[in-house]
Point group: C2
Chain length 500, copies 2
């Protein structure tokens, strides 16, 4: 059996493999606060690259960034009955505004500083932003309002897993207001497209765009759309959502405007978001039994140079060579950005150092020893190559962008192949049950359905969920059919899967 850098391997224990990759790649660690993680520099740099690209797209599509309060008055959640029944029950509740000595050498929340109204740490900001929008919107001239916020949010999750589900996480939430339903629907779909293009183009993670079934909608939404990716364990990951909120939130929050005829109307709103969960999706799409593999477009470093020397004399020859190599590489461009190149001069054994970078998933690894200097060459490896190869230095510098492009494509193709191999069209309940039976690999099942208790009960028993009704069916007929669960008429197939 070949030795792997990550133990256990994916096939031995997938959930534990995931935790070990997060650790070995220096992405994050658990903190001293229950359910909250520390995002380490390599993991945060991935998130920064995700942010930068998405932020550019949000601005190109007409959105402005703004910032709204961390806290939501409890009464705001009371007003949103549907909201309260949703996810907002488990949340962090601020009840006091002062600590004082407790008389026993410790501290306590000061009884005299109890808040009249508790504050909730935002689990999402529809209510507080909606209250603000109600002030901003008076006339049709004020519309559309196209706002995005980069922020932290808190949901008191009982079972947490780094990046995938944490009590506090980082995200962006778009919130928009429109004069017509059509415009709001168009916005909802446009941002879903932005997410899908980002997931496939930058993360090399193939996704299915679709609409959620009624039971899976965001509370209060008229329609919820999502992008769904398949991880290597054949479970689905909801990687981004975009909600058409109809006039529901506008009515609860009194977002009204005077139209050109002078009449007052409720506005139409949307919201959409992606989070640090994307980093989890990136890991589970591409990492292998040797650790992370960063898609080049998002890699914190495109290449790392590892100088190898045994003594001061070799060092004196190798280091300047590495420096000038770094400078040359840094002038090359990939995907519109200068190459991000690091030299690792830490005082560590060569093998240990090399494996650290393999586990971190840097796309290109370059080793330079005295013989490479003498022959004007480098020893270079892409993260997907079995072993590296000696190559002429100038050729490597010239080829680096192409190698990155190939790696990006390889990652996408491999993930798409895995997904397609795990996708099936299913037309009978028996096949559905067999596909998701205990001990079977599972995957993505395209099946006709009708929303209702029969489907819900069967899905619950099999521990699967309808992920979405694809907007552009990838598999199966595009028309009507017969619901697996009731035999009733079904207009479209949904994709069913186990999910994170």
């Amino acid at each position: 059996m070949a030795k792997t850098a990550i133990s256990p391997t994916r096939s031995e224990n997938y959930p534990e493999w995931y935790q070990q990759v997060v650790k070995a790649a220096d992405l994050a660690e658990n903190s001293d606060v229950r359910g909250c993680m520390v995002i380490k520099p390599w993991g945060y740099a991935l998130w920064e690259n995700i942010q930068r690209r998405l932020d550019t797209r949000f601005k190109e599509t007409g959105h402005d960034n703004a910032y709204f309060p961390l806290f939501i008055p409890m009464s705001f959640l009371e007003k949103e009955a549907e909201h309260v029944e949703g996810f907002a029950k488990e949340c962090a509740v601020v009840t006091h505004h002062r600590l004082e000595p407790n008389g026993k050498g410790g501290l306590q929340p000061a009884p005299s500083a109890k808040l009249e109204e508790p504050l909730i740490v935002r689990p999402t900001s529809e209510t507080i932003i909606g209250a603000t929008f109600a002030r901003w919107v008076q006339s049709y001239r004020d519309l559309p309002i196209l706002i995005n916020q980069w922020a932290n949010v808190v949901r008191w999750e009982l079972r947490t897993r780094m990046f995938l589900r944490t009590a506090e996480f980082l995200w962006q939430e778009g919130h928009t207001v429109h004069a017509t339903a059509e415009e709001a629907q168009e916005e909802t779909r446009k941002m879903l497209d932005v997410y899908a293009e980002f997931a496939e183009g930058a993360m090399a993670m193939p996704v299915i765009k679709g609409e959620k079934t009624a039971g899976e909608r965001f509370p209060g939404a008229a329609a919820t759309y999502s992008i769904e990716a398949m991880m290597q364990d054949r479970k689905a990951l909801q990687a981004g959502t975009s909600h058409f909120l109809g006039q529901n939130f506008a009515k609860a929050q009194e977002i009204k405007f005077q139209n050109q005829a002078g009449e007052f109307q409720y506005a139409w709103t949307t919201s959409w978001g992606v989070s640090t969960r994307l980093v989890g999706g990136l890991i589970m799409s591409h990492a292998d039994d040797d650790g992370l593999i960063c898609p080049p477009k998002l890699a914190p470093a495109h290449a790392v140079i590892l100088p190898i020397f045994k003594n001061d004399e070799e060092r004196a020859a190798v280091l300047p060579y590495c420096e000038s190599l770094k400078n040359e590489l840094s002038t090359q461009e990939y995907d519109g950005e200068k190459l991000r190149v690091r030299i690792d001069t830490r005082d560590l054994r060569g093998g240990e150092k090399k494996w650290q970078w393999v586990k971190r998933g840097v796309p290109l690894r370059v080793e330079v020893g005295p013989r490479d200097v003498a022959s004007a060459s480098v020893f270079a490896a892409s993260r997907l190559m079995e072993k590296g190869v000696g190559v002429e230095r100038a050729k490597f510098v010239a080829d680096a962008p192409k190698m990155l492009g190939e790696l990006q494509q390889q990652l996408f193709d491999r993930a798409k192949r895995a997904r397609d191999e795990a996708s099936v069209v299913i037309d009978t309940l028996a096949d559905f049950e067999a596909f998701f039976a205990e001990g079977q690999p599972g995957g993505l099942a395209y099946a006709h359905f009708t929303d209702g208790p029969e489907m819900e009960a069967k899905c619950k028993a099999l521990k699967v969920t309808p992920r979405c009704v694809p907007l552009e069916p990838l598999l199966g007929d595009d028309g009507a059919g017969e619901c697996l669960f009731t035999g009733g008429r079904s207009e479209r197939r949904a994709v069913f899967a186990r999910a994170y």
Copy 2:
């Protein structure tokens, strides 16, 4: 009396003028949560520009970004006795993790979901980051650790003012660990320099770099340095701080490392931060009775183009001209960045539109009507000009970067002149009392001092504070002298002022 866009004017009521500028420039507004503000798109864009520039400098000086939990366990603050006695008493305390129906149609914190240990919303992150660093640091090989975090923090302030003092605010906090005191001290001063260069170079806000007196130090710091700016009302604003924490935090948090000789030693730490308060400083440095003036290097838009037309025919001539003007201008560069140019086509009266942009402080305003189109010219004004002038279009495009550079310099010069005019050397207590007497304009007083109760009592009576002991004295003798308050020997002058 000339009519001004902002009422009251600075001389009529400075604090109220400030609030009106924040409002008129669309920077921020009070939210539904006590002490928390909504940062509106124009204000947030200023902050994004501040962030981008500082972030680049932090990375150039070797720092990595990371992210740590929003919450701090109460026991962490108990361990930091000095810390608790400082600012951490007024804070947001999370005591419950669930809301439930209260039986009266509303919600309540669920009694069954009381946290065993309350959590504090971070007022600053030394304790939680220090606990993490204690795990990261084992050997001298792990040092230095150079980390920065962009985050929101909460301090339950009783009196708040937008940007200057809010319960929640946005900031960055640098946290570093070093093997030696010298290295940590060097880091502390280096980041102070980064702040000062940013304040003067980008914000056009002259600052004094100095060390805080003992009574003004960050709790637990061995030395606190700050940059101090003077606002137009002659009050000082602490615009950034950099703390040399000695081994104090390392001892409380057990941040130890094995040195090259194999011995365990406590590490030396620093922390440093600036916040959205900088936006307040920017406003009070440059805004006038017509509203904000954005320093060009940080302006959300360098130029706005206002098309002027009375009918469809004029519109058809003017709009394409404006579009092509925008495209031309956008290829020009100022300060290493392409010009940020907007066209305002909103359906508003010309005068109203023009004044909105004056109040928002856009550096260059360009009006284009049919006659400008016919003569291939524009009507252009810099925000500091009395009135605009007609100028040949090609010349304006070519000159725009130079005009921005001149405006940036004018703003700095004007602010520096105001500060210098308000700065005095004071050598007797009588002069000191007269300078800060009720009804006097006040300003910055350079005076000899000894730290102690005499100085503190007198300062308190006069409502002034020692802002800092300048590192490079701008005024007065550089050597020893006689303390104004005790007659004792004083090594250096401090700068005294009223402050925000």
